[in-house]
């Protein structure tokens, strides 16, 4: 029988496997719930700033028959904070969030700090990955990056940012290039620390917000620049998560160089399977359903997702921390029993 790590690796490389894995990557696609905090005795917000706690918490999800992966961190503010944004660490059931932007215009990007992976929460994340790696479990460690558009719009007022993509395209590209360089540094450090897979989630860089033309101009090249920069690190997988409706950008998704694509529950998995032909399809159980339905109902929803052709079963977004453990166990169980 395949280990969870081998199974995910094979799926990402386009090989046949015994059955689909069920994962939730972490980062913006948070995988941590209150039930597991109570079982492990490790809670938010402390776990955001302590490597051992971060490792224990994500391990707790797997050990309690949750998702078949480890995934750190649990938010999308690590990079923004390292570059100068002020972050509020949230509560036990609320994720950290940016509360003060360091710059006011795309042209101000030279005032930003370059991510230093040897300090702050960037280091905490790397240390957590090393702790998990040392345990040498058969479980894939998934590291996470905030997507370039989402990071850019966490460093300045998003409304101004979106307008300046149109009004100051030259400076906006320079800013995006700077943001991308920082992400490559942090992403590479996470892979070198021992992560098996890297997920890039770009909830603010969607076709629905930007439209296909701007998605092609401002999202695709930078996402690909990041993915391509890791090609020399062997045996690593990559996943890109895009929020919102995808119908306007199917063509563009085929030009992304990641091994897998993950997407929102408002987009039909059948349509993505049909239209995106060159990568593994991951998704797309509604996180609302995951939090508010019964385990029985969730088994049905999971089976529908799998019948629709997803290669990797997973929530369509970060899960709410109030989601019950038994609900997560139900979807993992469904993937384990699934036969094509």
């Amino acid at each position: 029988m395949l280990t969870p790590k081998d199974r995910l690796h094979n799926i990402l490389k386009g090989n046949k496997v015994d059955r689909p894995p069920c994962i939730c990557p972490g980062g913006m696609m948070n995988m941590i719930i209150e039930d597991v905090m109570d079982i492990t005795g490790v809670t938010w917000p402390s776990a955001h700033t302590n490597a051992q706690m971060m490792a224990d918490l994500t391990e707790g999800v797997y050990e309690n028959k949750g998702f078949e992966n480890f995934g750190v961190p649990f938010c999308m503010t690590v990079e923004a904070e390292a570059m100068g944004a002020k972050v509020y660490m949230g509560t036990k059931v609320n994720e950290p969030r940016v509360i003060e932007y360091p710059i006011e215009s795309v042209a101000d990007y030279t005032k930003l700090q370059y991510i230093n992976v040897n300090e702050g929460r960037a280091k905490v994340v790397l240390d957590a990955i090393k702790i998990l790696k040392e345990k040498n479990k058969e479980v894939p460690i998934i590291a996470n990056l905030t997507g370039p558009i989402s990071l850019a719009s966490s460093l300045m007022e998003p409304i101004t940012f979106y307008k300046q993509l149109r009004k100051k395209p030259k400076e906006a590209h320079e800013f995006m290039e700077f943001v991308t360089k920082n992400l490559i540094t942090f992403g590479r450090a996470q892979l070198e620390a021992g992560a098996d897979v890297l997920t890039i989630s770009d909830p603010s860089g969607t076709g629905e917000l930007l439209g296909p033309k701007m998605f092609r101009e401002f999202a695709v090249p930078y996402l690909n620049e990041i993915i391509n920069s890791f090609k020399d690190i062997k045996d690593k997988g990559t996943i890109i998560h895009i929020c919102g409706r995808l119908k306007s950008i199917y063509d563009e998704l085929n030009t992304l160089n990641s091994d897998a694509i993950s997407f929102d529950s408002i987009t039909s998995a059948t349509k993505v399977v049909e239209n995106v032909t060159n990568k593994a399809i991951m998704g797309n159980i509604s996180t609302f359903a995951l939090e508010n339905n019964t385990p029985e109902k969730l088994k049905n929803i999971s089976n529908i997702c799998l019948h629709n052709g997803v290669d990797i079963l997973s929530p369509a977004c970060g899960i709410g921390p109030r989601t019950k453990l038994e609900n997560i166990q139900a979807i993992v169980e469904t993937a384990k029993r699934y036969k094509k």
């Binding site: 949230g90 059931v93 609320n94 994720e95 969030r97 940016v98 509360i99 998003p158 409304i159 979106y162 307008k163 993509l165 149109r166 009004k167 909830p203 629905e208 917000l209 930007l210 439209g211 701007m214 929020c243 919102g244 306007s248 996180t287 609302f288 939090e291 977004c317 970060g318 899960i319 709410g320 921390p321 109030r322």
Partner: protein, 222 residues
């Protein structure tokens, strides 16, 4: 073509075509000819914004375009409001809008606000990451007809229910329309927590807002 009509058309096209700098010159010329500012907003700028909203629904325009159109509209309003005559400003409905506590994504809320304003609402924007009680306090202070709550995140949806509960506690739930929206929200969630209205698109939400407030007024005067 009559000068006034020509300028109204130009105000409209400045908004649609995202000419947020030229709109000021047109608005100034309009005022210099002593035309009514309210009509300039209603028959010029708002028409342009409606057209922009239509282009958005048709997926010609996306968020960046819509935001620049609304900048042009506001730049025009700033100048035109100096010449609003007599009682042309009819009864205005009042709305309090904001993103619930725990979420800082406010694009949806901003679009809703813009569309409410073009539908004739006076809008009090509480911004993002707003504690539930602040919606109640502001609504009471200004005598709001409507509260609009937005969130993009599953994790903060429960705070919408909390606002509705607070309205009940204060015995003013019946007086105020509550609308909810945002990425995480669906019609079934709106029904579940007892909100009065939900719509996926900001422009449709604003139309619905007006209907709901008008219905409530009729109901109360009946």
């Amino acid at each position: 073509m009559e000068l006034k009509e020509k300028l109204l058309k130009e105000l409209c096209s400045c908004v649609v075509d995202m000419e947020d700098e030229r709109v000021e010159d047109v608005a100034k010329e309009y005022i210099e000819n002593n035309f009514d500012g309210y009509e300039g907003i209603k028959d010029g700028l708002a028409v342009g914004m409606e057209e922009a909203g239509r282009l958005y629904e048709e997926e010609e325009y996306y968020i960046p375009e819509l935001l620049i159109c609304s900048d042009a509209m506001y730049a025009g309003i700033d100048i035109l409001k100096s010449n609003i005559k007599g009682d042309s400003a009819k009864e205005k409905y009042k709305a309090v809008v904001g993103v619930v506590e725990g979420d800082t994504h406010d694009i949806g809320k901003n679009l809703f606000k813009i569309m409410l304003e073009t539908a004739g609402f006076e809008v009090y924007d509480l911004g993002r990451d707003v504690p539930s009680i602040e919606f109640i306090n502001k609504a009471k202070e200004v005598g709001a007809n409507l509260i609009g709550l937005s969130t993009l995140m599953t994790t903060t949806m429960e705070n919408m229910e909390e606002v509705i509960e607070l309205l009940k506690e204060q015995n003013i739930r019946e007086d105020i329309i509550v609308m909810v929206g945002g990425g995480a929200i669906s019609q079934s969630y709106a029904n579940k927590i007892g909100a009065d209205g939900y719509a996926r698109e900001a422009s449709k939400a604003a139309k619905l807002a007006k209907e709901l407030v008008q219905n409530l007024k009729k109901l109360k005067s009946a």
